[in-house]
């Protein structure tokens, strides 16, 4: 098991390295003097010249990349052009909220998907199955931002049960904060549950055709026991992969939800800084996001053998 984990860790490093190259290259693709780009048009020539020196813009490109990488590895991601705040602290401020929303949404979605998918596979071709498939197909087609707007319209404006704009930090008032998060989490959970349910259902159906499931029934186990002990672990493995991917994609996709519900999260920071041409923030966010993505994948890789022990043998 340990060998397996260290192997996965080792494989993650080249990816991170390549990502850093891509992020660096992306920002350098912006036309114009990079120092001016970073400091803004208004900066005075002396500061620009100083930054030239620091960034080593006279030196060859690979050397500049290494300098930048060295800074980033130490945690120094520069400062925002707009607010002059440290990029790192901006990310640290915003990330917990995004993480909370994304994790709870995916958690709920997974729960729904497992239950719905298993039940649909159990009563295959029956009315429950048809309902689950239809529901999943419908949900797959709904854009998250539209659903968010609709829910806001309904529960926020029309019924007035839930707050519409803004956010209250958890540390200040937990109950209020939770209320603000209900709609975003429900929206995301609904949207994510579509694809997860379909995956769970189809892999459960595939697994239920296998001999060991029939063998379990032949031993006298009841159907719920068969589903829980034999079908679920094997059917969940591919779904787990999908959960990891969904979480990864959410690192960016959450920007849309945060825009709809005006939450001060990492996604919105990213969008705003792109629109504002605040490149240090953009770079920092991209790097951080990639790091988070790699970590999520690693976590899924570590969890996977609990559901399918065969992967450790590879």
């Amino acid at each position: 098991m340990l060998a397996y984990i260290s192997r996965r860790l080792l494989l993650a490093l080249p990816t991170l390295f390549l990502v850093s190259v891509i992020v660096f290259a992306l920002m350098r693709m912006v036309p114009g003097d990079p120092a001016v780009v970073l400091l803004g048009e208004q900066a005075d020539p002396a500061t620009i010249a100083a930054l030239h020196e620091e960034m080593g813009l006279n030196r060859p490109l690979p050397a500049q990349y290494l300098t930048w990488l060295a800074h980033a590895a130490r945690g120094d991601l520069g400062s925002s052009i707009e607010t002059h705040e440290s990029v790192r602290s901006m990310i640290a401020d915003r990330f917990p909220l995004s993480a909370a929303v994304a994790l709870s949404a995916v958690g709920f979605a997974t729960l729904i998907a497992v239950l719905a998918g298993l039940c649909a596979a159990w009563k295959r071709d029956g009315p429950l199955d048809a309902a689950v498939v239809a529901g999943a197909s419908l949900v797959l087609a709904i854009p998250s931002f539209w659903l968010g707007l609709l829910l806001l319209l309904l529960f926020g404006l029309h019924f007035g049960w839930l707050p519409v704009i803004g956010y209250v930090p958890f540390s200040q008032d937990a109950k209020q904060a939770a209320l603000y998060l209900v709609l975003p989490v429900v929206t995301l959970a609904t949207v994510e549950s579509g694809v997860l349910t379909r995956m769970m259902r189809s892999s459960a159906i595939d697994v239920m055709k296998l001999d060991y499931v029939t063998h379990a029934r032949a031993k006298g186990l009841s159907e719920p026991q068969v589903l829980a002990r034999h079908v679920f672990p094997n059917a969940f493995a591919p779904t787990l992969t999908l959960v990891g991917l969904a979480l990864g994609q959410l690192l960016g996709g959450i920007a849309v939800i945060e825009t709809v519900f005006t939450l001060p999260g990492l996604g919105r920071l990213m969008v705003e800084s792109i629109l504002a041409r605040d490149y240090p923030v953009v770079q920092g966010c991209l790097l951080f996001t990639a790091l988070a993505y790699v970590s999520i994948n690693l976590l899924v890789d570590i969890l996977y053998p609990f559901f399918d022990p065969r992967v450790t043998a590879q």
């Binding site: 494989l11 063998h215 379990a216 029934r217 032949a218 006298g220 034999h230 094997n234 399918d308 022990p309």
Partner: protein, 548 residues
């Protein structure tokens, strides 16, 4: 069947009829009014080809039919109760505890996600409610009886750590732990190699006999039936054709289908000694070794694993030589190396005098016409998107034969394999046997000097097997090519090959004329292989049978 009154029988199936569910497709009857009985402690077999309904009949007993199949009528009496009329809960009490079932595929017969131990004791905990340590103790004892080494470690291991044969034995242990009165074994050894096959079947026989457990064995192999079963039931396309004591049915079959099945068994024949002057050598394999590249570690290349060690083979025009071995012995790899589908690590291979490792383009083209390969899996060796005529004509196209002539030759060859008019069809419109004939047609159309046949009949039903083998023999004598016939089945060797090479773990351990090797085997492995090959009571003298 002459039997005592039905009430004494352990299992009595009456007029069982299975049909496809009208909701999921066309309406078809899969089993027509099947009636048979099993006595307590008896070993019975149900034999038939694919589509005969034998597996469905077995599953129907425990109401484990797949979706889309349902029982329309029929009673299944077990120990006085009609299983077909039980409630789900009552049925669950019967499953496992009174009737146990073992399945075919070792790769999917055990749940890969949980340990062997948990799977073994699951049934015991459910039906007897014993504490865990007691279950584990019994499980260990049972594992010893199925000859698994180190049972303690086995309990904590996962299924993927075991080979196919071991997994089948573990499954057997799991079923017999519950001490059922009837064991249903659905083709438990079909997916195993010959030696493992024998081990598992011997185990089943021994353990069930000692505990007076009745066995119902589902199989397609008449040899297995002859060796192990006391009673036999013959099914064809869902109909019961014949049933009775094995000895009687197999020596004096009453029904034409049974007779056809028996006639389809490969039968030994005498092979004429080579005539003088000796025909030219077509294939020379000299001291050939082959490696697998080995798993790539993170930064270093993997350590290569050797599969074939210094093998020598020589084939003359017109000869059929069999290459026999278990799966993993390297025989298929060697066959592919002769066709340059695998690289050779050491030694040389010469076809018609040319070293195939270094061929000029012109010589390479000629080589491709001279050496051909018949693949094993008829479902994988034909491109599903290409018509049969184009598939067969492919070797000629490469040789630059003009289209008209190509068409004529394709038609001729189709006639020779008995598929006249099939040229416009696609593979999915043909049966397995027909597809294999297409594969043969493709292999002979370029009039090769050498044909390597890699288990060409192993994936086919018995009666089809016989047809295809006969066809191959006829074509070989007409065309006169040398044939290296790769197989794991010794009875086929007896019918078709004049010489045989026995291969084990990458080395040729014995070689010689068929009669010599099969009657007077020198090497231990050859002897074990012979002993493990089940044969019918009246099969020819070239191979001796060890009776039950």
């Amino acid at each position: 069947m002459t039997l005592p009154s039905a009430s004494a029988a352990l299992l009595s199936v009456e007029a069982l009829r299975l049909e496809t569910d009208p909701l999921t497709g066309s309406h078809r009857t899969l089993l027509h009014d099947l009636t048979f009985q099993i006595q307590p402690g008896a070993f019975s077999a149900v034999v038939g080809e694919s589509g005969s309904g034998k597996t469905l009949a077995a599953r129907a007993i425990l109401s484990l039919l797949p979706p889309g199949v349902r029982r329309v009528t029929g009673a299944i009496h077990f120990a006085g109760r009609n299983l077909a009329a039980l409630s789900p809960r009552e049925l669950r009490a019967v499953r496992g505890a009174s009737i146990g079932m073992v399945f075919q595929e070792p790769m999917s017969s055990l749940n890969p996600a949980i340990t062997v131990g948990r799977q073994l004791i699951e049934g015991l905990r459910l039906h007897r409610g014993l504490p865990v340590h007691e279950c584990r103790r019994r499980a260990c004892t049972m594992l010893e009886r199925v000859r698994i080494q180190d049972p303690e470690r086995c309990l904590n291991a996962y299924p993927h750590e075991f080979s196919g044969g071991m997994r089948q034995r573990i499954m057997l242990a799991s079923v017999l732990l519950l001490e059922p009165r009837l064991l249903i074994a659905d083709e438990p050894t079909t997916a195993l190699d010959t030696l493992s096959q024998r081990e598992v079947l011997e185990l089943i026989t021994e353990l069930t006999r000692n505990a007076n457990i009745a066995t119902l064995l589902i199989t397609h192999d008449l040899g297995v039936v002859a060796r192990y079963a006391e009673e036999v039931i013959v099914l064809e396309r869902g109909h019961l054709r014949e049933s009775g004591p094995t000895a009687q049915v197999l020596t004096e079959p009453a029904h034409p289908y049974t007779r056809r099945l028996l006639a389809a068994r490969p039968h030994a024949r005498n092979h004429a000694s080579t005539q003088t002057p000796e025909p030219p050598v077509v294939l020379e394999v000299e001291n050939v070794s082959i490696n697998y590249p080995g798993k790539r570690r993170l930064l270093r290349a993997g350590v290569p694993k050797q599969i074939v060690y210094g093998v020598n083979i020589s084939l003359r025009e017109g000869e059929i030589v069999a290459l026999v071995g278990a799966s993993g012995s390297g025989k298929s790899t060697l066959g592919r190396a002769i066709l340059r589908l695998k690289n050779v690590a050491g030694g040389s291979i010469r076809v018609c005098g040319q070293d195939i490792a270094s061929l000029a383009p012109e010589a390479y083209r000629r080589y491709r016409a001279q050496a051909q390969l018949i693949f094993q899996d008829p479902y994988s060796s034909l491109d599903p998107r290409i018509r049969v005529a184009d598939t067969i004509g492919a070797p000629l196209r490469v040789q630059g034969v003009p289209k008209n002539e190509r068409q004529k030759r394709v038609e001729t060859v189709l006639e020779q394999v008995g598929l006249t008019g099939f040229g416009d069809r696609f593979p999915h419109q043909m049966s397995g046997g027909q597809r294999q004939r297409v594969a043969i047609a493709r292999a002979i159309i370029s009039r090769p000097k050498l044909v390597v046949a890699d288990e060409p009949v192993s994936a086919l039903d018995m009666t089809i097997q016989a047809q295809v083998l006969t066809l191959l023999q006829r074509l070989q004598s007409d065309y006169g090519f040398a044939c290296l016939f790769i197989t794991h089945d010794l009875s086929v060797v007896a019918q078709i090959a004049s010489h045989v090479l026995v291969m084990s773990a990458g080395r040729i351990v014995e070689r010689g004329p068929t009669a010599d090797v099969l009657c007077r085997p020198q090497h231990d492995y050859t002897r074990a292989l012979l002993a493990a090959t089940p044969l019918l009571p009246r099969e020819g003298s070239i191979i001796s049978d060890t009776p039950r």
